[in-house]
Symmetry: C3
Subunit: 257 residues, 3 copies
């Protein structure tokens, strides 16, 4: 039984997600379907790439990840299937798959009629190209059967930076549901001591810690997040709401208060 995951900016109130799943199940009745998210911001290719990369890492080998954040649908960008790290990725060649599919990777254009559902709607390759491809892969076909090989896929810049020593200029690369700020600084171990954080010209004091409970209620905590990046959170609150930071905001971290 193949696992097929879904990552889109389609939202959950329309028929689009259901239609894709119907197509996959028509070709692969045994597939196990798992939503990663359909709440990527509209046309937010970089946001979708980040969330897909974070989630994909926890799936078993052989998983097929279908992703659609696709403002250029029906235009000149290619439809692709990528094989990397024991997983398969299906979607538009606009960078969306690049963070989740580690190098070395192999890629093919999706051009075989068996991997498409004619007539292909110029605005919904999710249903007519990517879902049939995921269905064929889930039913056991090889990605190389999808079409001609592609030398390289479009890659987003990887903004992740070195670990923190005494300070860093960093970017906010994601805001999660809790308002936690995920930063571009790699961090696998908890920072210690007191830190000053500059955001939008204002200064905040944060405690280095392992988890939220290491700060006082309402206090900022700087910690090594579950995805391998340094994060900034407020115990029992939203760091995004407090600081006004958003995706792409710059922050300056410096040891001491």
């Amino acid at each position: 039984m193949a696992v097929v995951t879904f990552t889109t900016d389609f939202g959950t109130r329309d028929s689009y997600v259901g239609a894709m799943k119907g197509v996959v199940l028509s070709l692969a009745p045994d597939a196990v379907l798992v939503d990663i998210t359909h709440d990527v911001p509209a046309r937010g290719v970089a946001s979708g790439a980040f969330v897909l990369a974070q989630a994909a890492a926890s799936f078993p080998p052989g998983t097929i990840h279908l992703a659609v954040v696709d403002p250029g649908v029906g235009g000149t960008r290619a439809d692709v299937v990528v094989e990397a790290g024991g997983h398969m990725f299906v979607g538009p060649d606009n960078g969306l798959l690049s963070l989740a599919a580690p190098r070395p990777r192999s890629a093919w254009r999706i051009e075989s009629p068996a991997f498409r559902r004619e007539p292909v709607s110029p605005t919904f390759h999710g249903r007519d190209v990517f879902a049939p491809t995921a269905g064929r892969l889930a039913a056991g076909q090889a990605p190389r059967d999808a079409g001609p090989p592609l030398a390289e896929i479009v890659s987003l810049p990887d903004v992740r930076q070195d670990r923190l020593v005494d300070g860093a200029e960093a970017l906010v690369i994601h805001i999660d549901t809790f308002g936690n700020l995920i930063t571009s600084v790699r961090g696998a171990t908890a920072p210690e001591g007191i830190w000053t954080v500059d955001i939008h010209g204002r200064q905040y004091v944060a405690t280095g810690g392992r988890t939220f409970a290491d700060a006082n209620p309402g206090g900022l905590v700087l910690y090594a997040g579950s995805g391998g990046q340094l994060e900034l959170a407020i115990r029992d609150g939203s760091a995004a709401a407090l600081t006004g930071a958003g995706r792409g905001s710059r922050l300056c971290l410096r040891r001491g208060s």
Copy 2:
């Protein structure tokens, strides 16, 4: 393995959807459960009917579609199961199923004790009537076992209109997550040239095209949508936000600028 889909206005923060799925799995442990949407506007029977019809078309034969948008629950409307086009539909007889279940169709009232879960809550037939029915069907029982046949189900008017030639008065029948306006005009092929669109007394110029990329950034595009209707969108933006149009808004399309 039977596929059971779910379309409701229950939202996703309460226990209602989970409870229905638990009941289905209790009767049909092998059923494959797929959400179409739980974000139909509260009591929006016509909206739910549209989304269900759009999504159901992509599912394999034998799929069971459970739908609940049911402001009259516990009142005089019937509980029904409908067989049409190789699919089965389970829900309230208030029009919700009528767009998805094409004629000819057969219908039965759900009255057999085996298809209900006693005591039936007067406010939650989703859990106590429709989920047991979907579970029984998924486990292989025939829809005619549910109860006495029903000559016809309640049908919503089908507002879809003829194709566009040089102009049309149209309705907005759905606004999707991206703010695209799905209209009542049928359109399987892309309109060409320049069009004037009148909405709420204001005029806009739209380019006929195949897909969003056929308009300039920020420009309106008129195209044949993936569901077979003409749609109006803005490249990289929300046509609904620009025009203030909502479900039911009237628009006038006319060739030329």
Copy 3:
């Protein structure tokens, strides 16, 4: 095939839910995964406990319920697995599981390395402790293999009150998607007659009934809800919006107008 349900405050736009499901499927490829909700208010342990208890009651014996609303993650609270009423419950020992897991119940701490995924992130036990545990249970391991037994789990107060006779002081224990007020008063049968409801110092008249249709359009109806509690709703509207009531609001019910 084991059923694994998910109840969290993680929302649906991040990678967190997908990551947990990937871990479960890595250990139990045949597991059937069902979302109850990911929209518990952030850190709303009591809200999550209520929704989980309401939904869990409809699932088949042997179901594994994974729940994470966990503001104290990484701190001193225990990770637990609970067996009660033929179901298993996995989550933080902070009260979240207590309403769904009826007494008598057995509980174990999750300490065995086989039930954890090292290194355990101090901020994401959902992925690194609870998902591996749910996966092991779904694959057939016994809960007692997770670690040492725990004499009792943390329990939330059960605020449910006796049935209504001629009046009651009550609490609003949940507001659902429709704006219906679920109260702390038990009610398995429909109240009859006319009732006065005091909320936030204002008085409303409600009709006792079986279902929404028993009130006039726009009128308040007091009825025995599908979860066994008395509820207050408006036909074709939101009782929460009308009255301003929220979770925890007090209301006074009294027979007569």
